[in-house]
Symmetry: D2
Subunit: 448 residues, 4 copies
């Protein structure tokens, strides 16, 4: 199959210099990044979360940018067929393809050499979001980030839709990490809620990054997609633009996200910050949250547990709680003169900002012990779970584990025991990978 | 509870003369019509289809129209609570309330004394639709009417959503009779399909009439509602504005609709007309359609059977078939100079236009026999099913049956036998009424 | 020349019944009305104000309404050429043609037999305006009616543009009677003011009626045109929808308008009403306003003079005064519960509502004397000036005067003397007719 | 006076890093640039073209950017009062202020160190225009650049309005260099033309640069303003985005523009290019164009003369000629695969791209002789006129001339004689400066 389409939005016209940058060349790192991210969004309807397998399945896929009278055309050779309806690309996917062009080019041309300075990282994160028109000062602040597993069971999925519906009825907008499961359900539910409220400006924001986009491609309902340069800027983006956070059941990625936000909120400089965090699932998931809560209590302590509320089996209450919490968020922002749409005053320390590369060595070297403050422990735990996600579904991680064996995770023996238990429950509940194949752990808990 | 709200759309300002017309008065027929229809749309989330019961449940509900600086306000006393989210009316329901005001006033002031002349009836139907902004010559013609039961099983419901989704992906708009089941599923599905195609102009048209609105209230997704004056103008509206018709599984009402459209298409004057008609349901409904098909074959003959296509368990094929059929529809309209958005050239004989009042006497007097042309037989059969719907869910019908016992249906013994069998299958499959109570037939087939 | 075009707006689809009503027929009064009004709007760029001459110049002009797939087409034979740019009709004129179709059909089908009841007349006026989407409760109330002559000198014209510009800068919208001179200048000025304020929703409302439309056709800048059925409903429309009135220099028509509004405001029932009325012109027009003011003082007295403010040569002050006055208008409307966009509470007595037919007999019979209250005297004087307008530029009036000689105007000798003086000054200043021909008075003041 | 306002458009939210960049500091070059350009757009209604005088008049003007909950605020101290209506800033000027923020920040942060490479200069020009949303591939290509004097007489001004009106009636959009006279008239005329065609998307693009913005500030009708970094990129922007060029009467600046475009079109690599160039003015300006034409003939030859058409006193013909020419432009672009909205294929040599600094030395050193190709001669002549503009109205130029006396212009004696004559005619016709003061030439033609 061969298809040509127009990019939509701000990237429908490129300069000669820019087109040249993207010209296909086997050796061009930028082109490969562009090609792979494009392939990922085209492959949205697929039923696997194994990035490597996806790339191997479509080795004959090619993409090119061509200049035409009315801007540029994107030329596709052998794209995944489920991106098309009767031979015509789904508009939502066409938009996502344009976003890939925009974000890869933009980040590449402006931020080729990323900085280490904290203030600059926050500026870059902001600049990328602003360039994607995510930040809209004139609109009502009402963005809820929903985190949770890409592999969840039917009851949990239905519940995420119900929560999204209740949020949509209250005109909340939704932000997730893209992908299936808990990242798709709230958007579908909100779509119906918005429709009943005649809100046709509903925002379904998806934040992704190049290494996860193939395993968790954006559902076409995502109508604002941003590809952040790395997972840490993606996480920073989530927390700075949100007015509330929901955490649904999930596996290692969800644990990473929970540890990230708790680690930041535990920072004493963020003591006065307002940000409602709700852990929620259907009545049947009560036990799951008890496990998570126990793990947090045993590792980060009661102070961390006080940062979130657990609501089980009551979608309406989730939405009402966030609506009430929003008032506090805005009052606080107004009081200290912070922006409604980007939380500048939240302090994010460098150990949450600097990209973590999950090599075997880095995985082994994390300090997982009680001889440090809880925020730092959270940062280190976060990295461990991040590494497990990589070993599970990301192209680089899968390769590394295949070559060198499972990651070795070690540290304080009490924590290792808790961790082993938690990870095992994720495996047992099929949260690590989409069902279909037997899960082979990419990690080994030493002394767990 | 007490609430005031602004009507939206063209009816947000009324003259003194008009407000006076609607002033609350126990003796005013117009006010009562207005009140009851308003109650029905407010009661959209209810789980009963018994109109009488609804009216009795909300005897203390009151509605008034008040004049204010910025137009009029609608004042509600004791409205059903599920129309509200956190005390604020759902926007979709607010629109529906405004539609009630518009349509009841409009029909009342322009068409108080309805005419019998066929050409005038068609003009009235058109005028009401035009006043409701249903007819939009500048838009692409792409309206599919979905008929089917309000009481269908879970598999069937899921399938109607799937069909709606496939239609939405192809930018079809949806028209149904309002209400739950097969009238709601396609709209929900299309909403998701439209979202993926970034179509935020999706139309979810609901056509209802005062006697059915309480039993089958418009779901808030319906974003264009019209209350036609009677069932016959409602049916005429469906067929003149549609570019294709889908019939999902259903009960007596669905049978009425099928007989109506077949009766018209059997008219020799409509021989050249193009209008795709598809009977469809999930794989599990195959048997249901065999029953319907057999009944049509035995009563109206093979010619009638040739007017529709049965597709089982293939939502995508349904959508593709309608897309292919649309080309023929438009080619034909263009060729004979007919309008794309209102099928003027379709001939609808007076016996399909004149309102049928389902009294016991009228029910008994229908000529159900083979000694007439098939179009007339279809017209008479249509009336019988129409009466059964009335006895099942409409306020007047329920009362009449309670007072005088079941309607007596009689006629040709062969047809009676077929009819009895068909109706019994509807009962067995719980298609007559929403589940919850035991169904007590409102009819008796004599000699069946 | 032969041209076909689509009507725009709500009248782009007509029913068979409606098209039939308008079918060309020499004997059809409705068709002739439709044709003549259409011709008038097409002839907008012409340089004559003699209605009869216009109709005679285009005897071979024909217009037809044809049914097509996408609604109806308007078919024009031999239309005036200045309605076209390079063979394509100017969009503004296309809209005006559609308005003619809408208003002639609407009034004809709903209000064929006009009522005499005051409350009904007000309802009809409202209904016609609402159908034309003139009344928009959700918008800010800010409509200024500008009255004044169609034949004014260059300095006056420039000044009307300057006033319009200052109004536009303050986001006022403009309403006039259509036509050149003081009815066009404020709209052109406001267009520039609106552009600078990035207001692309500027409203330039033109109210006309069939007998004046040819002499004073709508300039294409008029983006909301309404053809009221007669001059009295047109005047009622002006005063009920306005939030302030400006009167520029003018001739008999302007005098009619001034007397109309003063007569109504003098009514003791309207004592509490708020409506700023400003008489204004360039510094050079100071003397003109002294003449008008003296005439009002001598006939209707000081109380009438107190109803208006005269501002000479200060466009900015005019706009600022109206802005300040608007606050009072809205405060009053809110306080008594009246609508912001239609002044229901203003009392207009039947002698200002009933159409005046300017026959020779009716003109002679007006009671112009001091033995009546001032409101009634204003009403009678208004009729006399109305008749003079008819004799000057309207088709019927011109014919009547040609056949029977000038209208005879008689009454109290003091008033007659004042009137004669005033009318003579209008003649001397070329305010009666557009320059180009010598003005031959259509009236004779008896005892003046 | 003290006022705070929101920037509009994409610059309504800035990062901490960006706000810091602009923080007021007497020593910051960027802040001074920002302040002066802001002052210039606020001073739009002024009646002087002397940049230095303007800056001196408002020494107490201050501007600051402040962070607030809903983005940033611009804080103004002692701004020019005519930017306000009743104490509220004119919306158009508010937009221009936002543009200053956008363009000064954007250019500063992305293109601090400008490149010399031709391809990169074209990319920068494109990037700045794209960032300003000037380039819109999905719209119809229809942009006409109007060049001409800021100081023209009343008849000429009226004619530029008439041409703008005729262009507007044909839905052309207008681009000028901002400022009064021939840069404002076409926009005002087009506004009325667009209004009649119900085109409320009319574009009135103003391209300026920091050194000219004070002398020729954007009229508030300009609804898309771009501040290019220097005059050469501004000129390149004009010719790459236009589909036709009109040159009205003017002085040194207009001569510069004419020489620029002729120099480029004379380049043999541009032989096949299509770009209609029309010199036009009212009948009374016939002699002016004879002078210009004679000068071009004598210096650049007949080939240069063939590149333009002179139309005198026929605004409609100007518009019709451009409409016909547009077809050729688009056909050519399509044929060679060039963009409709940015003429990439036009070759602009480095001597037209590199900024010319009009020092006394540079002015003396231009090679004005026949011993070079005509394109180069045009480039050199262009620089000389550019220098005269600087000496007339730009802050730096005025200062330099005051300190060191008039620029000395020398070269081939025949050309000098022609030049002297042409410049003298500009002086005599008051084209060099706005009337009001006696013009003191900033140049001296040696051997003229």
């Amino acid at each position: 199959m061969h298809s040509q389409l127009n990019p939509v939005g701000s990237m429908n016209m490129l300069s000669q210099v820019e087109v040249d940058q993207l010209h296909q060349s086997a050796t061009s790192e930028l082109y490969n990044l562009y090609r792979n991210c494009s392939l990922a969004v085209l492959n949205a309807g697929s039923h696997t979360d194994d990035a490597e397998q996806i790339y191997q399945q479509f080795t004959d896929f090619q993409i090119q940018v061509l200049r035409r009278e009315r801007g540029v055309k994107i030329d596709l050779q052998n794209p995944p067929l489920h991106a098309f309806v009767d031979g015509k690309i789904i508009k939502g996917i066409q938009e996502h393809l344009s976003v890939v062009l925009r974000d890869i080019l933009f980040t590449s041309s402006r931020y080729k050499d990323m900085t280490d300075i904290s203030e600059q990282i926050t500026h870059i994160t902001f600049d990328i979001l602003r360039n994607a028109d995510i930040i809209r000062p004139e609109t009502d602040p009402n963005l809820i980030t929903c985190w949770g597993g890409h592999s969840i069971n039917h009851l949990e999925y239905k519940y995420t839709k119900e929560v999204g519906y209740q949020l949509g009825l209250r005109n909340f907008n939704i932000c997730t990490g893209c992908g299936p499961g808990a990242m798709k359900g709230p958007m579908k539910g909100a779509t119906i809620g918005h429709a009943k409220q005649r809100n046709n400006q509903g925002r379904y924001i998806g934040l992704t990054e190049p290494s996860i986009i193939a395993a968790e491609p954006p559902n076409p309902i995502v109508n604002e997609l941003v590809i952040m340069p790395d997972i840490e800027k993606r996480l920073e983006a989530f927390v700075r633009i949100s007015h509330g956070i929901i955490i649904f059941p999930g596996g290692a990625g969800t644990a990473e996200e929970l540890l990230y936000i708790l680690g930041i909120m535990l920072n004493s400089k963020n003591q006065a910050q307002k940000l409602p965090i709700i852990l929620t699932g259907p009545a049947e998931s009560a036990e799951y949250f008890q496990g998570i809560d126990a793990f947090i209590g045993a590792t980060l302590g009661e102070k961390a547990q006080n940062l979130y509320t657990i609501i089980v089996g009551d979608a309406q209450k989730v939405a009402q709680t966030l609506k009430a919490g929003l008032v506090d968020v805005l009052t606080y922002r107004k009081q200290i003169g912070d922006a409604y749409h980007y939380n500048w005053s939240l302090v994010i320390e460098p150990d949450f900002q600097h990209p973590f590369e999950p090599t075997h060595e880095n995985m082994s070297n994390q300090n997982i012990s009680f001889d440090q403050d809880t925020a730092t422990l959270a940062a280190n735990l976060r990295r461990v779970f991040s590494g497990i996600v990589s070993g599970n579904v990301k192209s680089h991680g899968i390769k590394a584990v295949r070559e060198k064996g499972p990651f070795k995770i070690s540290g304080d023996s009490h924590i290792m025991a808790l961790m082993d238990k938690l990870l095992k429950s994720f495996v047992a509940q099929q949260r690590m990978k989409l069902p279909g194949t037997k899960y082979q752990p990419c990690y080994e808990v030493i002394g767990g």
